[in-house]
Assembly symmetry: D2
Homo-oligomer: 336 residues x 4
């Protein structure tokens, strides 16, 4: 059975997911699109030669008989309402980050999904589908390095635009670690602290850069994440897990090794879009497969909620300079 998808939001990421479904993945087609800019929605499918209906209204798209599942790729503040509507309609929904712009909003989705009685929501945290993170998790789970004790991580961008302020280091950047590290360790955060090193001269007045976020987990694992978004030299994601018996590090992206100009070198990516390009394919193929099988998996609404709660604590820690507790309700059996 081919899965019929309805896509809400046809900006850059929406258009990219449409392309992905039609030119790279198996088992799905886009039959319906919606955007606040109807003309853009029309162009998004026309440009790919796809015969999909353009809906003026997102709710109508969600309700359409021939739409089996929904992709929410619209503006962040609209996500909560759209995901709730998809749940109300009983349709599987893949929602790009963030699940909702507040933890309270995420919690409403979590509650609605539980009330529905079955998982419907997959959140677009693609790192869990990255070959490197999967390989790292496999090593941890194999017991080769013993119990994890510490993680040393870095999330570095060459540069960010003027509009990126200090708190976005949490909500736009660290948010990926806040999700993927819980998954990697099968653990929850209990506190956060933020340290501000000397500021790089390459930042602007609204952004303290770099930052170091210190996290503690229920199991006592201590995590430091360097967030450095004007690092100049590349888009560089590091994750080193120090265990009782050894250390495992996230693979460096594969690259030609060069000997030239008195240097032995490999390339570092400059563009974040290149780093997880395959993970986007795998993530969406997994969603399509789970719609077919009727068993939605991947990053859950609960995970989206947990990341939002942790992000709130980190922003509080940015303000106060204190160690801020991260308080999560107990994880419902529904999300076990």
């Amino acid at each position: 059975m081919t899965v019929n998808l309805g896509v809400i939001g046809t900006g850059a990421i929406g258009t990219d997911h449409i392309r992905r479904c039609h030119l790279a993945l198996s088992g799905a087609r886009v039959v319906a699109v919606n955007d606040i800019n109807a003309e853009q929605a029309r162009k998004a499918v026309a440009g790919l030669g796809i015969d999909a209906e353009v809906y003026a209204n997102a709710q109508d798209l969600i309700d359409a008989e021939n739409v089996h599942a929904i992709l929410v790729t619209s503006w962040g503040p609209s996500h909560e309402e759209l995901v709730l509507a998809a749940i109300a309609a009983g349709k599987p929904v893949f929602c790009e980050k963030p699940l909702a712009v507040t933890a309270a909003g995420c919690l409403r989705i979590v509650e609605a999904e539980q009330a529905h009685g079955k998982r419907l929501v997959q959140v677009g945290y693609m790192r869990e589908y990255d070959q490197g993170y999967l390989a790292l998790k496999a090593v941890i789970d194999s017991g080769q390095i013993g119990e994890p004790l510490m993680l040393h991580c870095a999330h570095r961008n060459p540069t960010v635009p003027q509009a990126y302020g200090t708190s976005m280091a949490i909500t736009d950047t660290l948010i990926h670690e806040l999700d993927v590290l819980r998954w990697l360790l099968d653990d929850d955060f209990v506190s956060a602290q933020v340290i501000f090193p000397r500021t790089t001269r390459h930042t602007h007045s609204q952004l303290r850069d770099p930052q170091i976020v210190l996290l503690e987990t229920v199991k006592g694992v201590r995590i430091d994440v360097e967030v450095f978004v004007n690092c100049r030299y590349g888009y560089d994601i590091q994750c080193q897990v120090v265990g009782e018996e050894g250390i495992a590090s996230l693979p460096e992206p594969s690259s030609v090794q060069l000997r030239s100009g008195a240097k032995l070198s490999t390339e570092i990516l400059m563009d974040w879009k290149d780093r997880f390009i395959q993970a986007y394919d795998v993530e969406l193929q997994a969603f399509i497969g789970s719609v077919s099988s009727g068993q939605i998996g991947g990053p859950s609404a609960w995970n989206g909620y947990a990341a939002a709660v942790a992000a709130d604590a980190c922003m509080q820690a940015q303000e106060s300079g204190e160690i801020v507790p991260i308080k999560m309700p107990e994880r419902p059996a529904f999300y076990a």
Copy 2:
């Protein structure tokens, strides 16, 4: 338009390609299968829940109205006849290695395809679709290392079965380099020499292992390829291009870095199937795309022929210990 494929030969690789078309790739479905063992053909599609017709006869499958293109994944000696039949039917055909078991057979295909007037044949040399080789070619073509002067290559397997004899080091193993290096350098071979080092105690009486094959190209590039198929430690493909300004090496497969047991280590693959797993997907997706567009690309019948001619010379060099010339007719404009 969905491309309807007919698959001839439903052994391991055939079944894998059927799975690939239905579960991983976009734009194609398998509508017809054939195998000398009809029961196996039936199982291959039934196991995947695919509704494809099982043909008792390969020619009937090739002629079937609803079959747009053919995958030849049967026993090597049957390839020539099947590819010629597909050409006669005017249908695009993807043929696994070898294109034909003799250079003469390859040449007959080359001539038939030219007589047809348009490319129909893509040969299953998947390395040209490997991210690593593509990245290496991009570096060479960028001019960063200047003109290539030498290549140092290795093709190593942990072990081979008893049935693998000395000449199979050429026809089963080196054959990949004989194809991919011509593509990498955009060059042709002019001579071959084979050197037999001290033999490993891990080989058997029918196999001289390792071997070193020395190749020379039209442009004067000198290539050494170590073929070592009982190397024990891993499946390891190396390709280092020494140019006038620097050296570029094929990327190592990406792997978790471990610090444990007094070693800093990354993993080396043991199974060849894991090495080019993504390249198989990309290769077949490219074939599907080119069937749709009507412009067949990728490794051509001419490339299959050139590799066969070079392999013949290498086997002669194994016997004689001499430097054996490799004589190719001029490349027809058709294959430019």
Copy 3:
């Protein structure tokens, strides 16, 4: 001129320095030795075939006419008195770590040396003579990575004996970073915080292991040092300097690269004595040279004092869990 050395303390390190002077270095000889165990002192020189006078009393050795300079390699608590005596005698003195067992003791030496009017003391912090740290400092000083903003460091041992308690992570282990990082950055510490991650099952009841020490400098550089002394896998010293334009890391010790058993690996040292073996030679040769030239250089008494002050703050931070200020008097021009 050959420098005549008097060595006080002929345990493992004293004996090793005697051997070094006679078999590996240029320009010095040991003419006098002293140890609380006179028999051991006699054996230390006899074993090397050296004709040196064995003194029953350290002060007599210091005062001996033919002794040009002193090596203090005795038990830590005796260092302060011996160094003060050497200063009183106006003789250059090389003192192994610690300069004194308290910051107050170090300060008395600093004051005595200033009263003498000329540098006489070199402290045995050998890392400043390590090729790797020297290369790292050269990169920083070249400006290639811009201003340093953060340092990520690790000091890992495979195992420690039962007698090694929680505070020794500071006084025996971190002490090396407390010295070398000031030198590397040409900066001073202003605060310390200690974090205790989940404890490894390989530690014993008197030792919380691992620990993470967070340091802040006058220039605002933030440093994290993982101290993990039962890490099992190796003796591993890491130092990564994150600057405004790029990142520089301490070189890994040079090692044969192996491909075997499905691993691509290099060796990690297990024994700390192998890690800085060349640095000990270079450090002592530098002392000999500076005695000859009359200009004592290298790690000064002030540096020994600064490391002691920082260590005190770190131990206080271990106890309190708080961020502890590190208060140093202004550096005298004498030590500029």
Copy 4:
């Protein structure tokens, strides 16, 4: 006992050895020097503040009562006569490469030394004292990679002067491999072949560059050495030993790792003098020690002879393009 050295030839390398003896090594001093340019000899010692007698005549220096051992660092063509004179005087002699400019000359030294009845000659092949080669040999000898079957080597220089012709690729460059590989494998060469790849545009008319030299040993090991002396990018020495169970590679020189400008890089040396700088110290310290002990070791006159014989065959192979046998007399028990 301090070893009194007489140095014949006070050019760059001679002066460097004098400096080494006085400022870096233990147990020796230079008491006598000679050079065809007496003024230069005078300056060489005066510049270092050494009180050594300047001899107008090399034979007088060799015969001087107070000279215990000789360093021959003069022009290559003078080596044979000087080494023979030292043997005649019964004095240990360290001779820089080449031992003699012809194989016949080397053989005369071998015969004279045997007639003397005891080893007196150490040849200045410093690679045997390089930490990297020593570590590589230790791995081979440990049996970890099984019996060596193949070696892939490279000897690359950034550039060479106009005076460097095609045959100097053998006599000046490959000569190091001709010595060190025999030592590494404890084996002898039996044949040589030279291949000329496409020539780099960075060479000049008197030099075919690069070259590939193929060697075969008594045990059947096959060696390829790429000699590329205008490679532009660095001074780069590679040696990979492929054994029955795994592969061991010569360590890369230790270097700071940089992340900057979209590259992850380490430095490659540009100047050959930096590559083996420590090996020169170790080599000469070993000679001093062996003079003291009366047991001369290290690279012997026989090794110098063997390298010369192999070099002659390689030059013949350059001319003929043929596989040229390398014929060595049986190694005398004297040199076992």
